[in-house]
């Protein structure tokens, strides 16, 4: 029996890997641990990675070197503190990976391309594709193809995948989960890219938790203001979907009706731009109903869990979001309401965050 210490070396990784991203299957659990830390915090150090994961300094060294060579992480300048040894920060390389997010709404489809730190590099809004009769869901194929064609060649090699955010109910009464899965398989087969499909509001909540104000938060209530109002409870970074796709008719659609009833133009509402507060009493009446509904949800949830933060996300103009947050805090002073930071299309950016979380993070 040979001394196994002197068997041929069996590296943790392939030292002379070619450029481009690793295949999904060889991304080790430990590499995912390190990337999860980095995706959750803007910067870390090898020391901190070791402390948080329990891995030895030498194992962390091998992992980080591997990620550096793959171009996913970069080493920052050493920081000399007044006390103690200097620390060397490790950060994500913004150009290390890209992702495409597509959110299919009621009458338009948003497409974004984001880099590894969630910066939107490209955003387009398209009219919804026509569903061809008899076809399964091939209408998405062209949209995704268009989005991929927009990627610079260099970025195409570093595309982590495509995230697709769909509202509930697109399955026309069929089971949403199995519908999403079938769609994913179809697109992957045709385009050869990894596709991740999720409910759009849940995706928006993921985006806010990965790249937005919710990054440092563990427990909070997430609201998404779209045509309707949607809520998600987030506990220990886990987004709870709930069993029923409940949403409330106090969203932008309600404001649109209100505005139309008074003969005013609803164009700013459709485009998600302009000054919504200028609708004056109509805005006030609507905002009152919206805040009431959020308070009811918060009261219901706070019977079971304590939380201090609400994240309020929308494609509505930032000023409108801030205003709603202030009004909510006034009626429900025990929570801090934070407007979402993921713009311009929280759902599409959220969709784009799915390939990152699936390929680079631990569950």
């Amino acid at each position: 029996m040979p001394d196994m210490r002197f068997a041929p070396p069996n590296p943790l990784r392939i030292a002379d890997r070619a450029s481009g991203l690793n295949a999904v299957s060889v991304r080790s659990y430990n590499e995912r641990l390190v990337l999860s830390l980095l995706l959750q915090k803007e910067t870390t150090t090898r020391l901190e990675i070791g402390e948080r994961t329990g891995l030895s300094a030498q194992t962390v060294s091998v992992l980080v070197r591997s990620l550096e060579q793959e171009g996913l992480v970069a080493r920052g300048e050493a920081q000399k503190g007044r006390v103690g040894p200097p620390t060397v920060p490790i950060v994500l390389n913004p150009e290390g990976a890209f992702s495409i997010g597509i959110s299919v709404g009621q009458d338009r489809t948003d497409i974004v391309l984001i880099n590894f730190v969630g910066e939107v590099r490209f955003h387009a809004t398209l009219p919804n594709p026509e569903a061809a009769r008899g076809a399964n869901h091939s209408e998405f194929l062209d949209t995704i193809r268009q989005a991929m064609a927009l990627l610079p060649k260099k970025a195409r090699e570093r595309l982590a995948g495509v995230g697709l955010a769909l509202p509930y109910g697109v399955a026309n009464g069929r089971d949403d989960e199995s519908h999403f899965r079938a769609l994913q398989d179809e697109i992957e087969e045709h385009l050869g890219v990894s596709v991740f499909v999720q409910n759009d509001v849940t995706a928006a909540a993921s985006g806010e938790s990965l790249f937005g104000v919710a990054r440092p938060l563990t427990d909070y209530m997430y609201f998404y203001l779209g045509a309707r109002l949607h809520g998600r409870l987030v506990l220990n970074h886990q987004i709870y979907n709930g069993n029923s796709p409940v949403s409330f008719d106090v969203g932008v659609a309600a404001l649109e009706r209100e505005v139309a009833r008074h003969g005013l133009s609803a164009a700013p509402l459709v485009e998600g731009s302009g000054d919504w507060l200028a609708y004056g009493p109509h805005f006030d009446a609507w905002a009152g109903r919206l805040v009431d509904q959020m308070v009811r949800s918060l009261e219901a949830v706070s019977q079971f869990v304590e939380f201090e933060t609400v994240v309020f996300s929308s494609y509505a103009p930032p000023q409108t979001c801030r205003e709603i947050c202030e009004r909510l805090e006034k009626v429900f002073p025990s929570v801090k309401a934070l407007p979402g930071r993921v713009t311009p299309s929280p759902k599409a950016v959220g969709a784009a965050s799915l390939p990152f979380s699936s390929r680079f993070m631990v569950e």
Binding site: P11, L12, L47, E48, P85
Partner: protein, 213 residues
């Protein structure tokens, strides 16, 4: 105070390229001296560079004293406790008399790592941090040394990869000196003053990046 041992060959000893055996850079110029300057007061840097040192081989010409494995044990015991051991060896193993491929030189490095772990000369009897440094590749023109190092140039360019594979397998720190320093054209396999400076600075950054409390 932390202690680092720099275990190497003539390029750790500070032998001057193209010079005579006794020609040596000053402490401040040699990379361990540069490392000491860069790391500052918190570190004690020990130099252990011997010209002609191999990883694990008794040299039939230069003598058994050049075997890096047999000397490593007493050396570690002399200097323990050690927080970090930096090993930069491998060039001498490429001499024609040993007739070894780069992968076998890496096996020798692996052997030294196992020996360090067995002895555990770190603080409190623990295993210290180990940093493997692959030497800069030799230049094609190695002057009068061509015979002694016949065929070594190509193998020397493979050392970085083979060492890194070994470092990854055994989970130790690794640095490729070839990324910051080149051999001096005066003899083609020793590093000059400027390369010592660059290497010392780069290794200081590597040492800091390990993270120390």
């Amino acid at each position: 105070m932390r202690t680092v041992l720099c275990y190497g060959d003539s390029n750790t000893h500070g032998q001057i390229p193209g010079g005579l055996t006794l020609d040596r850079y000053s402490y401040e110029e040699r990379w361990p001296g540069v490392l000491a300057r860069e790391l500052g007061k918190g570190w004690h840097v020990i130099e252990e560079g011997l010209s002609g040192r191999t990883t694990v081989r008794d040299d039939p010409i230069e003598g058994a004293a050049k075997n890096g494995r047999t000397y490593l044990r007493p050396c570690l015991m002399s200097h323990a406790p050690l927080d970090l051991i930096i090993i930069m060896l491998g060039t001498n193993d490429l001499k024609a008399r040993f007739n070894q491929p780069a992968s076998e030189v890496a096996m020798g490095i692996g052997c030294l790592i196992h020996d360090i772990r067995e002895l555990a000369p770190g603080p409190g009897g623990r295993v210290p941090e180990i940093l493997i440094v692959s030497p800069p590749p030799m230049l094609d023109d190695i002057k009068a040394w061509e015979g002694i190092f016949k065929g070594a140039q190509e193998k020397s360019r493979e050392l970085a990869l083979q060492f890194e594979i070994m470092a990854d397998s055994l989970e130790v720190h690794f640095f490729d000196a070839g990324t910051v320093a080149e051999c001096d054209p005066l003899d083609g396999f020793h590093i000059g003053r400027e390369a010592h400076e660059k290497l010392g600075v780069a290794l200081a950054r590597e040492v800091e990046a390990i993270g120390w409390k």
